[in-house]
Amino acid sequence: MSDGMLELTAVAAAAAIADGELSAEELFEAYRGRAAADRAAGEQGLNCFTWVAPEGSPADAASGPLAGLPIAVKDLFCTKDVPSQSGSRILEGYLPPYTATAVERLTGAGARLLAKTNQDEFAMGSSNENSAYGPVRNPWARTRVPGGSSGGSAAAVAAGLAPWALGTDTGGSIRQPAALCGVVGLKPTYGAVSRYGMIAFASSLDQAGPIARDVRDAALALSQMVGQDPCDATSLQFPEAIELPSAERLEGLRLGVPEELTSGAAGIEAGVQDAFRAALASAEELGAELSEVSLAHAPHALSAYYVLAPAEASSNLARFDGVRYGMRAEDADELLEMYTRTRHDGFGPEVKRRIMLGTYALSSGYYEAYYGRAQRVRTKISEDFSKAFEQVDLILTPTAPTVAFELGEKADDPLAMYLNDFCTVPMSLAGIPAISIPCGLAGGLPVGLQIAGPAFSENRLLEAAHALERALAFDGSAARV
């Protein structure tokens, strides 16, 4: 069984371990060795990881549905006594005194922490170039970005350095890197998974979710993550159990295609457009009914998002002041100077830009024009989705307007970078679940199909994604290292 164990999905590996056909210890060590080799190679490798479990780390007696499965976890999840730096210099070497609920639920179900994954600093970015620990490379083409901010998680899963991984999504940070790396990424309904122990970016948007090789693996991870948590007052009891999907057909399912997020005017490049249209044809062949829906305010989502998220970030990141944890600027004579210099030295350029943007939007005289208006746009976007979901069950769009771009290509143009999130931000603002599955290649690089549904429609979303995944039969083997 150990031959070919790296090819197993998490669902298959869990079954093999439960049946005694596969040693959990052997599986963990195989992945650990691969992850450690990538870490040792630094930027000569894919640079997916900021920490890898040391050799011979003791295995807890693993039991439960995930018994013995290794999992890689985005750096911004607090993991007790394991470095949790959120991709930032300001938290270099930070060892949290507790573990995030989402991680604890997975390890409580038997999963084992394999590694922490590289990410854009404080999850701010769409290319992983904003990490203080160097950019991650896309395993499909090493001169290209893996997407972000959960770029390390997506690249690690695509390259076969981890069977699956945890990411977080604020405006697309699970879905977009999953799309650019040719893997599956699911952003759950806001509140479905506890945010406790996630180093916060924008609290009304941040949501944890799985990045996986296939849809069933994503479902298995999610099934163990959801649920109310006394430590996160915005977490909710999920109304039903998350099931492993098995649908092969889509008869009776009504799928909506919003012009606003799928046309050339939305900045969707031709190759992505072709793969998306082919996926729509597959959905029809499977028996789904396709129709146009309107999300009239969706083109304004990006503007609203780039007010709301930086505003929340400017408040959340006020805690990094050199007093209680993380780095402190040397030799400051006086308290205010210690704060301002610590933050200058500890934060990277994109984080500074967003703190400045958010502080500006919240400052006296500008609050209503920016923050107030953005909150009203958010209402209109939610209303658009509610209306659309009266006509259709799920909505399909490309996940990202382009395939993976070259490292450095957009680094000097923040606005061009932000446009990566054009198709994913509307769902984030509405708090609804959305999944990205690979739907083909354009110029040899993966294209993602985004499927979104109403709040708590994860099971329906997973069933549709599973049927489409089978029909599309995407082959990700070229990315394995």
């Binding site: 609203a304 050199g322 993380g326 933050r343 500074k352």
Partner: protein, 94 residues
């Protein structure tokens, strides 16, 4: 267009030091993003209520029972500087 003075004002509010060379690029980049954002000014939003949170949660209270909190030595363990049993910082008015 955001001026250099406005950049410095906002940086002061954000408790962020900026070096001389960082000010002009910051003004330029913020202006580009704010120009894009300004498009939401064209929408008619007069009667639209704001959304601050997408989920309706009310009465999310836990039982009011005493329980242990983080031990002091654990809370202090990651601090850059401590003194006796507290966080040590430079004087505010040195």
């Amino acid at each position: 267009m955001i001026t250099d003075d406005e950049v410095l004002h906002v940086a002061r509010l954000a408790r962020l030091a900026l070096s001389g060379q960082e000010i002009a690029p910051m003004a330029r980049e913020l202006s580009a993003v704010l120009d894009h954002i300004a498009r939401i000014g064209e929408l008619d939003l007069d009667d639209v209520p704001p959304t601050s949170h997408v989920v309706e949660v009310s009465g999310a209270l836990r039982a009011d029972e005493p329980r242990p909190c983080l031990p002091r030595e654990v809370a202090l363990a990651q601090a850059p500087a401590v003194s006796d049993d507290g966080f040590l910082v430079p004087s505010p008015n040195a």
